[in-house]
C-alpha cells in the first residue's frame, strides 16, 4: 500500500487549484528569467563568435603551419586532436581584377572548418574541379554556376601556370576582398610538380602542409601543441615561425574575463533572489494554510519524512508543469530580444550573423538554475510543515477565532490600525513581499538611469567627424584594415560624389601603407628592443614604455602618415601648440612642420600620456630610400579619435602599418610631395540636411552596382548605433524589471488571497458584529496599500543610494555614458504599484469572499 501517499499527494494536489496556479506562475516566472537570460547570453556570444570566426575564416580550435608531409602524417597519431583538415597552399591567382583569390588544395574537413564548403553544387572530385565564391567567379568573368569553366593563372616554384577548371560548387562570399578557391586532392596528385617541397630552401609555400584542427579537449591545449612540436623537431618558443608552428584560435577559445564572469554571477544571484522571494512565499503560505492538516497527518501516524515526501512530490509535479512552460516562453522572449542585443554589438562588428538554436545548454542550464532555486526556497517551508506537531490537529478551535482582533475592533480601533496589525502577523512574509517589489523598483530605475546616461552625441562625435566617410571595405573589417596601396579609393568615386547635390566640406584623405615602407621617419625617441614579427616578417622597435613602431626598409619607423585638405584638418581636436587650424595649415604647407596626433582616452580630449612621446618643437626627419629629405618640427598636437585613425572604432589598418605611432598629419601638398604613389584611404564630407537621404541612397546604389569594394560610414548610422545601445538597455532592463515586477505583484496577490481565505471566518465574525462589506474591503485595501507604500519607500531610497554608488561607478567606467540622475522610472513604477495594490483586494474579495455570512461562519466547524 505504498502508493497511498501518492494517492494522497495526487488528490490534494488536484484539490488545491488556486495554490497550484500561483505556484506554477511563480516557478514559471523564475524559469522564464533564467531561460531568457541564458538564451540572450549564449545567443549573443555564439553570434559574435561565429561572426568573428567568419571574419577570421576559421572555426577550428587552432591550426598548424608549415608542416612537411611527414609531420602532417604524424597528426594522425596525435590523440589530442579529434579532427583535422588538410590545406596545401599554392598561392594567389594572378588573373584577378579586384578580388583576391587564394588557390589551395583542401580536403572537406578543412573546407568545412574554414567556411569554404559549397552551398550550391558539390565538393571537387575530379582533378580539374574547383569550389569558390560567387564574387571570385564574377571577378574571373564567370557567372556562378555549377559546371561553368573558369580560367585561372598562378605562379608556383617560379613557374607560371594557366589552367581551365570546372566549377563543381560555389558559395556566397563572406568577404568582399578575399575568397578561397580550392581543388581536391585529385588536383595535387595530377600536379606533383606544383607540390614539390622546397620550403627549406626557397621559402615557397607550395608543397607545405597546413591544417586546421578540432581538439579533443581545449584544456591544456597549448601544452599539448608545444609538446607535439618538440616531438616533431620544431621549437614552439621560436619567435621566427618560418618553420613548423601551431596557434590556438583565440576566437573559438577566448579567455574568459573575470569581469564578465562576475557580471554573470551577479545576474544569476539576483534572479535566484527574485525566484526565492516568490517561491518561498508561495510555499510558506500554502503550508501555513494547511497547518491543521499536517497536524492531522502526524496524529494518524505519518512520519516527518513522509510529510516531506508528500510536499516534495507536489513541488515536483508543479515544477514539471511550470519549468517546461517557462523554458518555452523564456526561449521565445530571448529569441525575440536577441537581435536587439546583437544590434548593439554590430556597431563594432559588421553583419553579425544572428545565431540562436534551441541549444540544450540553454534549457539544461535554465532548468538546473530553476530547480536549484525551487529546492532552495521550498526547503524551509517543507521543514516547517514536517515539524508541525501532531497537536496542531486539535488546536483548531482556538486558532480559528482570533479573539484579540475582534476585541480590538469592538473597542473601536480604526480600520487602518487593524490593517496595520495584520501586516505584523507574519513579519518575514511582509518583508519578502516588500523586498521583491522594491527590487523591481530599484532595478527599473537603475536601468532607466543607465539608459538616460547613454551619451549619444559623445558617441557620434567620437566615432565620426563628418556626415559621411567613404572607404574601402577593408577599413571596416576589424580583422584587416587599410594596409595596401591597392586599397586606395579611385578618382572615379570621388568625382561621382562631388557631382551629388548638397555635398560640402569634402576632403580626400591620404594615408601611407605597407607598400610605402621606403619612406621612414626619425625622431628623438629611444628604442630598447627590436625584432621581426613572426607572421608578417616586418621589423619592429619597442620603447621602454612598450610602445611599438613598425620599421621601414632603412630601419627607421614607417609611422602612420596622413595627408588632407585644410577643411579636414580643421575638424581635428588640436590640443597643444598652434591651435589655430588655419594658421597651422599655412605653416605646414610652407614645410614648417607637422601636426602630431596622440591617442586619447575614449570620449575625452586628454592625450594618453603613454603615447605622448614628443614635445611641440621636437624635430622629425623624413627619409626616402634611406636619405634624409626633409625636417618637420612638431607644430601642434591633436587628440585622436577612431575617425582620425581609420573609421568609426576600427583602427586595424594603422596598427598593421605603423603599429602604435607616430600619427602624423600633413597638408595634401606636402604629403604628395613625400610619397610617390599617394593612396587615398578615405573621402569624408558633409551633406546638407535635405540631401542626406539622397546621398545614402546614392552610396548604397554605387556600392552595389558600381564598386562593391567600397563601404561607407555615416553620422546617421553612428547615431542609430548609439540609440540602439539605449533602446537595448531599456528593452532588456525593462523586460527583466517587468518579470521582477510580475513576481512582486504575484506575491502580493497570493498574500491577499491567502489573507481572505484564511480569515473568512474572522471576516464573517466581524461582519456579524457590524462591519460592512465596504469597511471590510477598505481594510483589505489598506493592508495591500501598506505593502505597496513600504515597497515604494524602500525602493525609492535604495534607488537613490544605488544610483549614486553602483550605477554611477558603472556608467563612469564606460566612456559613452555621462551619468544623468533620474527618479522618473521609479516614480512611475511606484504609482503603478499603488494602483495595482488598491485594485487587487477589491477583485480578490469579489471572487473569494462569496457566500452568506452563515456559510462563512460554518467554515471552521
Amino acid at each position: 500500500m505504498k502508493n497511498m501517499l501518492n494517492i494522497l499527494a495526487r488528490r490534494s494536489f488536484q484539490a488545491s487549484r488556486m495554490r497550484n496556479l500561483i505556484a506554477v506562475l511563480a516557478i514559471m516566472l523564475t524559469s522564464i528569467l533564467f531561460t531568457t537570460v541564458t538564451t540572450i547570453g549564449i545567443g549573443a556570444t555564439e553570434s559574435v563568435t561565429l561572426t568573428m570566426q567568419m571574419l577570421k575564416g576559421s572555426r577550428s580550435d587552432g591550426d598548424f603551419h608549415n608542416m612537411t608531409a611527414k609531420q602532417y602524417k604524424a597528426l594522425e597519431d596525435a590523440d589530442f586532436i579529434r579532427a583535422y583538415g588538410l590545406r596545401m597552399p599554392i598561392g594567389f591567382l594572378t588573373n584577378t581584377s579586384y578580388h583576391n583569390i587564394e588557390f589551395d588544395v583542401l580536403d572537406s574537413v578543412q573546407a568545412d572548418l574554414t567556411f569554404c564548403m559549397p552551398v550550391h553544387g558539390s565538393i571537387p572530385k575530379a582533378e580539374n574541379e574547383i569550389v569558390t565564391s560567387d564574387t571570385a567567379l564574377r571577378d574571373l568573368g564567370v557567372e556562378p554556376e555549377v559546371g561553368a569553366t573558369v580560367s585561372i593563372a598562378f605562379t608556383a616554384h617560379g613557374q607560371n601556370y594557366q589552367l581551365d577548371m570546372v566549377v563543381s560548387g560555389w558559395f556566397e562570399a563572406t568577404s568582399e576582398q578575399l575568397s578561397m578557391m580550392w581543388a581536391g586532392t585529385a588536383f595535387r596528385d595530377a600536379h606533383p610538380d606544383i607540390f614539390e617541397y622546397t620550403y627549406d630552401q626557397d621559402r615557397d609555400m607550395a608543397g607545405t602542409y597546413y591544417s586546421d584542427f578540432i581538439a579533443t579537449s581545449t584544456v591544456g591545449l597549448q601544452e599539448n601543441l608545444d609538446h607535439w612540436i618538440w616531438q616533431m623537431g620544431g621549437d614552439p618558443d621560436a619567435t621566427n615561425s618560418d618553420n613548423l608552428s601551431a596557434t590556438i584560435n583565440t576566437i573559438t577559445n577566448p579567455t574568459l574575463k573575470p569581469t564578465t564572469l562576475l557580471l554573470g554571477a551577479v545576474i544569476i544571484v539576483l534572479f535566484i533572489l527574485c525566484g526565492y522571494l516568490l517561491i518561498y512565499n508561495v510555499f510558506d503560505i500554502a503550508v501555513m494554510q494547511e497547518i491543521r492538516r499536517y497536524g492531522l497527518y502526524r496524529t494518524v501516524g505519518m512520519s516527518k519524512r513522509q510529510v516531506k515526501k508528500l510536499i516534495n512530490q507536489q513541488a515536483l509535479w508543479l515544477s514539471c508543469i511550470a519549468i517546461p512552460l517557462g523554458l518555452l516562453i523564456g526561449y521565445f522572449i530571448g529569441k525575440i530580444t536577441l537581435p536587439y542585443m546583437v544590434n548593439m554589438l554590430s556597431s563594432s562588428y559588421e553583419n553579425v550573423a544572428i545565431h540562436v538554436n534551441p541549444s540544450p545548454v540553454i534549457f539544461v542550464g535554465a532548468s538546473v538554475l530553476t530547480a536549484f532555486t525551487i529546492l532552495l526556497s521550498t526547503k524551509k517551508p517543507i521543514r516547517v510543515a514536517a515539524n508541525i506537531p501532531p497537536i496542531e490537529a486539535f488546536r483548531y478551535v482556538e486558532a480559528a477565532t482570533s479573539k484579540k482582533t475582534i476585541k480590538k475592533s469592538t473597542m473601536g480601533t480604526s480600520l487602518l490600525g487593524l490593517a496595520w496589525s495584520n501586516l505584523g502577523r507574519n513579519k518575514r512574509r511582509s518583508a519578502f513581499i516588500i523586498a521583491s517589489l522594491a527590487l523591481c523598483i530599484v532595478l527599473l530605475n537603475s536601468v532607466g538611469i543607465a539608459a538616460d546616461s547613454v551619451d549619444i552625441e559623445k558617441q557620434v562625435s567620437y566615432s565620426i567627424r563628418t556626415d559621411f566617410v567613404v572607404v574601402n571595405a577593408v577599413s571596416k573589417n576589424i580583422m584587416k584594415g587599410f594596409t595596401r596601396r591597392e586599397h586606395g579609393l579611385g578618382q572615379k568615386v570621388i568625382e561621382a560624389i562631388n557631382t551629388q547635390p548638397g555635398v560640402n566640406n569634402a576632403s580626400a584623405i591620404y594615408k601611407n601603407t605597407l607598400d610605402d615602407s621606403y619612406i621612414t621617419y626619425n625622431f628623438p625617441v629611444e628604442f630598447t628592443y627590436t625584432g621581426t614579427d613572426e607572421n608578417t616578417g616586418i621589423g619592429y622597435a619597442v620603447t621602454e614604455g612598450g610602445i611599438v613602431f613598425n620599421l621601414g626598409d632603412d630601419g627607421h619607423p614607417i609611422c602612420n602618415v596622413y595627408g588632407m585638405e585644410e577643411i579636414a584638418l580643421a575638424r581635428m581636436d588640436i590640443q597643444e601648440g598652434e591651435t589655430d587650424a588655419h594658421k597651422l595649415y599655412r605653416q605646414m604647407e610652407n614645410g614648417e612642420g607637422v601636426l602630431l596626433g596622440v591617442a586619447s582616452d575614449m570620449g575625452t580630449s586628454i592625450l594618453n600620456p603613454a603615447f605622448d612621446l614628443l614635445e611641440v618643437g621636437d624635430i622629425i626627419s623624413v627619409f626616402k630610400d634611406g636619405e634624409a629629405i626633409m625636417e618637420l618640427p612638431v607644430l601642434a598636437k591633436a587628440a585622436l579619435n577612431g575617425d582620425d585613425e581609420e573609421i568609426r572604432y576600427t583602427t586595424h589598418g594603422p596598427f598593421e602599418v605603423g603599429k602604435d605611432g607616430l600619427f602624423l598629419y600633413l597638408p595634401t601638398s606636402i604629403y604628395t610631395q613625400i610619397y610617390d604613389e599617394p593612396a587615398i584611404y578615405k573621402y569624408s564630407f558633409d551633406v546638407e540636411e535635405k540631401q542626406q537621404e539622397t546621398i545614402h541612397a546614392f552610396l548604397e546604389n554605387y556600392i552595389t552596382n558600381v564598386d562593391p569594394r567600397l563601404s561607407y560610414a555615416s553620422a546617421k548610422e553612428a547615431r542609430q548605433d548609439a540609440m540602439t545601445t539605449r533602446t537595448m538597455l531599456q528593452f532588456v532592463g525593462g523586460l527583466i524589471g517587468i518579470i521582477f515586477g510580475a513576481a512582486g505583484v504575484l506575491n502580493l496577490v497570493n498574500t491577499i488571497i491567502t489573507t481572505i481565505l484564511a480569515r473568512r471566518h474572522e471576516f464573517a465574525t466581524m461582519q456579524s458584529i457590524g462591519m460592512t462589506t465596504k469597511q471590510l474591503t477598505r481594510m483589505m485595501i489598506w493592508e495591500s496599500v501598506y505593502y505597496a507604500v513600504g515597497a515604494c519607500m524602500v525602493g525609492l531610497i535604495l534607488s537613490v543610494i544605488l544610483a549614486f554608488t553602483i550605477v554611477k561607478t558603472l556608467t563612469g567606467g564606460i566612456w559613452f555614458f555621462t551619468f544623468h540622475f533620474t527618479l522618473v522610472p521609479a516614480i512611475i513604477v511606484c504609482i503603478l504599484l499603488l494602483m495595482v495594490a488598491a485594485i487587487l483586494p477589491v477583485i480578490a474579495l469579489k471572487i473569494f469572499n462569496k457566500g452568506s455570512m452563515v456559510e462563512k461562519l460554518r467554515v471552521t466547524e
Partner: protein, 221 residues
C-alpha cells in the same frame, strides 16, 4: 492484572503569555489492560492534556508516562510517531477524516503509512460492526456526522492498537447517535481486547465505563 498505562507525578504547565497554566498538576494514575476508563471534568480541567500525554503528543513538565512498559519521554520524535501509529488509536472530537481520501482509504491510511496491508478478515469485521459497508468508496463529505465518526473509529482501530484514546467522540451528536457510537466503541474494544480511554461529558457513556476518573484543576479528585 497488568497496567498498560502508568502515570507518575505527572505535571504539565503551559505558558500563556506571562502566565503559567498548570494544565496537569501532579497526576498519578494506572490504567488496567482491557478496561474501559472514562475521564470527566469541567472545561479546562486538563482532560485533553492528559489524553495527549498518554499519546505522547506532549513532553511532560515533570513526571513520567509509561505505556506498555516504555517511558515515553525516553523516545525520539520518529520513534514516537511509529509508537503512535502502532500502539495507539486516536478518535477525536470532530471526525478529522482526510477529505481527499475515500472512507476505505481513510481507514487503512495508518497501515499504508507503515507499508502494511490490512488483515482482510479484521477489516471486514470492523467495517461491518461499524456499519460502514456501503460507504467504503464514498468521500467523507458525503456521509453523516455519525457515519464519519464511525469511520474515524475504524481508522483508530485498524492497526489493532493496544490503547484507544477518544476525546469527546460524541461531542456534537444527538442522543441516539451518541448511544450508538458509545456502544460501538465499547463493543469493538471488548471484541478486540483493547484498552479504552474516553473523555466525555455524556453521562450515558460514562455509565458504561469500568472506571471513572474525575479531573479538577489538573488533579484527580
Amino acid at each position: 492484572m497488568m497496567d498498560i498505562v502508568t502515570i507518575q507525578h505527572l505535571k504539565k504547565f503551559f505558558k500563556d503569555g506571562p502566565q503559567i497554566v498548570k494544565a496537569l498538576d501532579g497526576i498519578d494514575l494506572s490504567i488496567e489492560k482491557g478496561k474501559f476508563t472514562v475521564i470527566v471534568g469541567a472545561s479546562g480541567s486538563g482532560k485533553t492534556t492528559l489524553l495527549n500525554m498518554i499519546a505522547g503528543l506532549y513532553q511532560p513538565t515533570e513526571g513520567n508516562v509509561i505505556v506498555d512498559g516504555v517511558d515515553l519521554s525516553q523516545m525520539k520524535e520518529e520513534q514516537l510517531t511509529v509508537f503512535r501509529r502502532r500502539k495507539i488509536g486516536f478518535v477525536f472530537q470532530g471526525y478529522n477524516l482526510i477529505p481527499e481520501l475515500t472512507i476505505k482509504e481513510n481507514i487503512i491510511f495508518p497501515l499504508a503509512l507503515d507499508d502494511t496491508r490490512p488483515d482482510t478478515a479484521y477489516f471486514s469485521n470492523l467495517v461491518h460492526l461499524l456499519g460502514l459497508c456501503h460507504y467504503l468508496d464514498a468521500y467523507p463529505y458525503m456521509l453523516s456526522g455519525g457515519a464519519q465518526q464511525c469511520a474515524a473509529i475504524a481508522r483508530a482501530l485498524i492497526t489493532k492498537p493496544s490503547i484507544v484514546l477518544a476525546d469527546e467522540p460524541t461531542g456534537s451528536f444527538d442522543i441516539k447517535t451518541t448511544q450508538n457510537v458509545a456502544g460501538l466503541l465499547k463493543m469493538t474494544a471488548a471484541t478486540f481486547h483493547q484498552t479504552l480511554v474516553v473523555i466525555t461529558h455524556n453521562l450515558d457513556l460514562a455509565q458504561l465505563a469500568d472506571r471513572i476518573v474525575r479531573l479538577q484543576d489538573g488533579k484527580i479528585v
